[in-house]
């Protein structure tokens, strides 16, 4: 026997247990010291490999980064930071033809999430993986977890950034309603920072929430009155929402600030035309209204004739029956235009209060139908079409 307990001890079970306990405690102390030293060495080695991996990932050398981070993890297998970084490298290196790295990234992240489900960084990484996969449900869940999770620093800004990412993802996936509700939540949490307000305004605009977008642009203009992008954005959103007077004001300011912005100039021209052609504006005289109606009626005829020529429909030879031209509404429109032409003479009569609407209805029908047959119009026709759309929206 290599070793032997003193025979004295063997007479007492209590003594034996005491000796065993002492030996176990001694063993614990010795192994603890050993493990501590070994772990410290391993952690130092792991840190070096981790730094190499991070640098490689930053340079876009994902294969090298993954190798280094894997090696770092073999040195310190439970290090959450290493796992998170490896998962990020795996996710970023994943290509669309091979999802295996994305799966591995997810497994690392799920393991981390199981340990710290409240960790915002882990949830955000998982959300990005889910977004990479295109899963709206999972991505939304993890983004929300990230927003309401624990951030190590700059929590409010990080939460807003996470929400912005979610909105961008939802917009990309066509989930506009969800994106809009997130935007409303975002707008209440945004700080008075022009850049962030501007970003939110753009997102509102992408979600077709022009009222929301206009409010954000106006906030930017309040914070930075000379911000040309905000002026143009505000003008455009006002234009899209049918508020052409406001649009004209913002667009004019934007063109003044940035005369090279052709899109804004075109929108301004269009808004000017709308405001000049609209016979329903309250501040214009009856004579001006009648003039605008007559001009619109004449323009409609011109548009109809031009469109018929483009579509190869002979309006003069055609009978206005649907049997002759089952595929084209243009002859019927011409018939209606001709039928309304005598009404122009009665416009000045004070008793004919509905006549402007009746005549303009014909104009609007012609503009809408020709737009459908011959494509989007330009100039005054476009202005008339926009006025018709605004009237329809108001009627709803």
């Amino acid at each position: 026997m290599l070793w032997k307990l003193p025979s004295l001890l063997q007479r007492s079970a209590t003594m034996i247990l005491l000796v065993l306990t002492f030996a176990a405690a001694l063993g614990f102390a010795a192994v603890s010291h050993l493990v501590t030293r070994y772990t410290a060495n391993q952690q130092a080695r792991g840190r070096r490999l981790y730094d190499i991996g991070l640098a490689a990932a930053k340079a876009g050398h994902y294969d090298d980064a993954i190798s280094a981070l894997r090696a770092a993890l073999t040195c310190d297998p439970t290090n959450s930071q290493y796992q998170l970084s490896l998962a990020r490298a795996l996710r970023d290196s994943d290509d669309s033809t091979d999802n295996s790295r994305l799966e591995e990234a997810q497994s690392y992240l799920v393991a981390l999430w199981q340990r710290t489900p409240q960790d915002a960084a882990v949830n955000l990484a998982l959300a990005r993986v889910a977004a990479h996969r295109g899963s709206v449900e999972d991505a939304t869940r993890y983004y929300h977890n990230a927003m309401y999770g624990v951030w190590n620093s700059d929590a409010d800004a990080s939460r807003n950034r996470a929400r912005v990412e979610l909105i961008q993802f939802l917009l990309k996936k066509g989930a506009v309603a969800q994106a809009d509700s997130e935007l409303i939540a975002l707008s209440t949490a945004l700080p008075p920072d022009p850049d962030e307000q501007l970003q939110a305004a753009r997102l509102f605009q992408q979600a077709h929430d022009y009222a929301g977008a206009l409010a954000r642009y106006e906030e930017v203009i309040r914070l930075a009155p000379l911000n040309a992008e905000a002026q143009a954005g505000a003008g455009e959103t006002a234009y899209r929402s049918g508020n052409y007077a406001l649009a004209q004001r913002f667009l004019r300011a934007a063109v003044n600030s940035n005369p090279d912005d052709t899109n804004t100039r075109q929108l301004l021209a269009s808004a000017d035309l709308v405001l000049k052609a609209n016979p329903f504006l309250s501040h214009i005289s009856d004579a001006e209204r009648n003039r605008r109606i007559e001009a619109a009626f004449a323009q409609a005829e011109e548009r109809l004739t031009g469109c018929a020529g483009q579509a190869g429909v002979d309006l003069k030879a055609a009978s206005p029956s649907a049997a002759n031209y089952p595929a084209s509404p243009l002859p019927i429109l011409q018939a209606r235009w001709l039928a309304s032409k005598p009404d122009l003479d009665r416009l000045r009569s004070p008793a004919e209060t509905d006549l402007p609407d009746t005549i303009m209805d014909v104009v609007f029908q012609i503009e809408q139908q020709t737009a459908a047959v011959c494509g989007p119009p330009k100039g005054l026709d476009q202005a008339l079409l926009l006025i018709s759309q605004k009237r329809e929206a108001a009627a709803l």
């Binding site: 290599l2 190798s67 894997r70 090696a71 770092a72 297998p77 999802n99 799966e103 591995e104 497994s107």
Partner: protein, 595 residues
Amino acid sequence: MSNLAPVVVAANPEAAPAPRPAAPRRLFAGLEDVFHEEVFFLILCVFIGIFSGLAVVCFRLAIDWMHLALLGPLPQAHSWHLFAVPALAGLVVAALVLHVFPGIRGSGVNQTKSALYIFNGYIPFRTAVGKFICASIAIGSGQSLGPEDPSLQIGASIASALGRQLEISREKLRLMAPVGAAAGLAAAFNAPISAVLFVIEEVIGRWSAGILGSVVLSAVASVVVVRSFLGSEPLFRIPITTFKRPSELLAYAVLGIIGGLASVIFAKSVGYLRPRLKAWPRWTHYLQPAIAGLLVGLIGFLGLPQVMGAGYDSMDQAMHGQFTWKILALLAVFKIVATTISFVSGTPGGMFAPTLFVGAMLGGAVGDIERILFPHLTGSTGTYVLVGMGVLFAGFLRVPMTSVFMVLEVSGNYEIIVPVIVANTFSYVVSRSLQTIPIFDLLTRQDGLILPSLEEEREEVILHVEDAMLPAPVVILNAQDYVDANARRVQDSAEPAFLVRMHPSGWNLVTREQLQRMDREGKGELTLASVLPKQSLPSLYPDLPLDSALRYVNDYALVPVVNRANSHKLEGVVSRDSVFQKYGSGRVVDVPSVD
């Protein structure tokens, strides 16, 4: 204590003289008031678990340190280190095995079984030291072996040494080695349930409250120790596993069949090469581990460094779909080759981890191929990898219960229990039909030891009392009847002895001569109950093992076999002749008189 002979210890149990039986109950002669031996033994099991856990923590650190020092944190293919290091380490290991630790060659499982059945629980402590050093070098340098078997043996050696020191009873000392083995294995796998099941299924082979309690205590204690130092992280990052449609069980059954075939190839390769290499001249034994290391290293050098070492990192990657099915299949094949080479060369190390590795890669490959052929299959690669691990465990190590619990415990996911059971069953059946002798029994027989084959014992047909039961006798006497009436009833019967139904319960036996003598002695007017001994005849139930009849048939000419629901209802009788005939002994022993 001083009058006890000293314990005889030798480095090699095969060369050792028959170990001295431990002093029976000596330790507890004056301590019964303080600690009952059973209680003390259970406390001792906890300490065994603690010491084994501490040893296994050190062992794992040693392997990791060796691996980092010799091969670096992440060995890459085409590096000369890959074949030079294991080859040189093989030379060192061979020298140590041949000159310093000659008892460490072979399987730790078998050495623990030998300790239990042959050496009265004796395993030299030097074995633990040798396994620790040599397995650390071998596995750390990249030999395709696992740390679980050495951990098992380190635990068993510590337990055996402690038991001998404390001079506990021989019966308990025999159990010490399996208890330590369970602790070592549990610590190595971080899986106490599987370790307990493995030791009971493969080493001890029987269940009882005492055995289970001691093994569980040691296993749990060791796992607690390991987790307190190394954390409770599982061996693998568990992937998302899915099992949605029962029809997919067919796919898992195919995996089970292929796994069973792979197990047979693996086992036959080891079984064929090991005795041949062992029989080569002794000087070649210095070179065998080095050549094995060189060959394993070459496999790594040529592009498959994953086959080197235990391979847990690669299993982890396979679970997360990091390899194509072609790579997975190649890894499975070359891991079998590498492990066979490493193991048969006599390099110390175990086959648990390689078995899991082969199963994981095979499972992944088969799963991927099946999903290419049948795209509707929903099981992820990770699911097939996990199931594959259990398949090889069931087919190669032939521990069906452990294999199921192993997968469940490692994965922590009960969703895949049905696929695991189905695949493991197929694997086990295929392996058993093509490879009659399980790998551990094969290794034992190659070493010239005859240990009980627990698989054979499990499959053995057990004879029951009903198999030897004779029809109930025509004449059954009633204890409430008078002696003379009973004497008249048996007058014309040819039987020498008759069963007596006692009241309110029980049976007795009386011979014709006894009845006639009592009648002659004037006891004819007395009831039979009043003259027969009060002690009733033992009775048996039809479903009892026939062994239980052996206790009585020598003492009683007839033993009643009664119904369990109604002990007065006689199902039949057994006699010594009927029992012996069933056993086929053909011996005829004089029936002692009931007098």
